[in-house]
Amino acid sequence: MDMFMLQLKDKKKWINILILLCIYSFCLQAKAKEVKKSNNVIARGRGVVITQSDVEAMKNYLPSFYKDEKFIKKTTICTVLMAKTAKDEGLVCKSAKSKTGFAKTYALSLCYYNKKFSSIPIQKDTIQSYYLAHWKRFLNSEGKLISLDKSLREQIKTIILKSKGKNFFAELCQKLIGKYGIKGLE
């Protein structure tokens, strides 16, 4: 009988330990959730974490009519990725030197974007074909065609780059998302 009582006591002890363990694990889980909520990680990748506070800071740099949360989130991710790449590559960025926090991230991302954008190769044929196809725009007061000199080449290059810029940001962004293996984008 005593032996039986002892076994029963042991069982009760183990059950109590089990209950305590369950409560402890629930507490841990709740705490983890709370931590996650306070950090508000919206996306993460190799060596990068993007939080909700980044998104909120990004809103200050976008025109107020941008309301689409998905778009703002993606732009934030791209901005952070560009800044990180600029930092990793040791890009010299004067405008970022005196800044801190997200302002620095934004300045770095701009430097990186401008560097990449200015290095887009524009073929000689591309500029020449634009000049010849739009010849009416390049007539002087006597109705003669202005020669395609260096300054005119630069002008045409700017026009072409401007139109390419729209796709360029999206392409660059997609490349970086792939490079860092970003997770968290729907």
């Binding site: 044929d125 591309t126 020449q128 074909s129 634009y130 010849l132 010849w135 796709n167």
Partner: protein
């Protein structure tokens, strides 16, 4: 019929059937590749046009009729190839759902030796449904080669 004879006979029949099938398939592929199926008649009505431009024009509209988008984009002016994405160009070309049957060139105007406008009437259709469209096609000569110039301010505002 012995077993060996039957095997030979059976193989012969198989060869005949599949041999013919392959031959037909070969013919179909040849026609598709050569563009004979997509017969496009182009009439110039005594309009003066240089041989090089004529060839470029014919090739372009042949490809347009076949809707060979990759090859077509290569025939657009280099700045268009650079500024317009393949996807948008594809969407534009596929706006014209039917195929071109006939082209009648009405006028060729070259204000510059490197720039010409070809005005033409085209007949598009599928079966009984046929439509006539008028085009003013622009062409530019770059480094000795004629290229097509898309002018559609609504679809491609950035290149106009």
């Amino acid at each position: 019929m012995s077993k060996v004879d039957w095997k030979i006979w059976h193989k012969g029949i198989r060869m005949k059937i599949f041999g013919k099938r392959l031959l037909y398939l070969g013919f179909i592929l040849f026609f598709l590749r050569s563009g004979i199926v997509f017969a496009l008649n182009i009439y110039y009505n005594e309009v003066k046009i240089s041989q090089e431009l004529k060839q470029a024009f014919q090739k372009y509209w042949m490809l347009r009729s076949k809707k060979s988008i990759k090859s077509l984009l290569k025939r657009e002016a280099p700045y268009i190839q650079d500024m317009v994405s393949f996807e948008r160009y594809k969407r534009y070309i596929l706006l014209y759902k039917s195929t071109i049957k006939k082209i009648e060139v009405k006028k060729v105007d070259c204000p510059q030796p490197f720039f010409c406008a070809i005005e033409f009437k085209s007949l598009w259709g599928e079966g009984k449904k046929q439509q006539i469209y008028w085009f003013r096609d622009l062409w530019v000569k770059v480094e000795g080669k004629w290229y097509h110039v898309i002018k559609n301010p609504l679809f491609f505002p950035e290149i106009n």
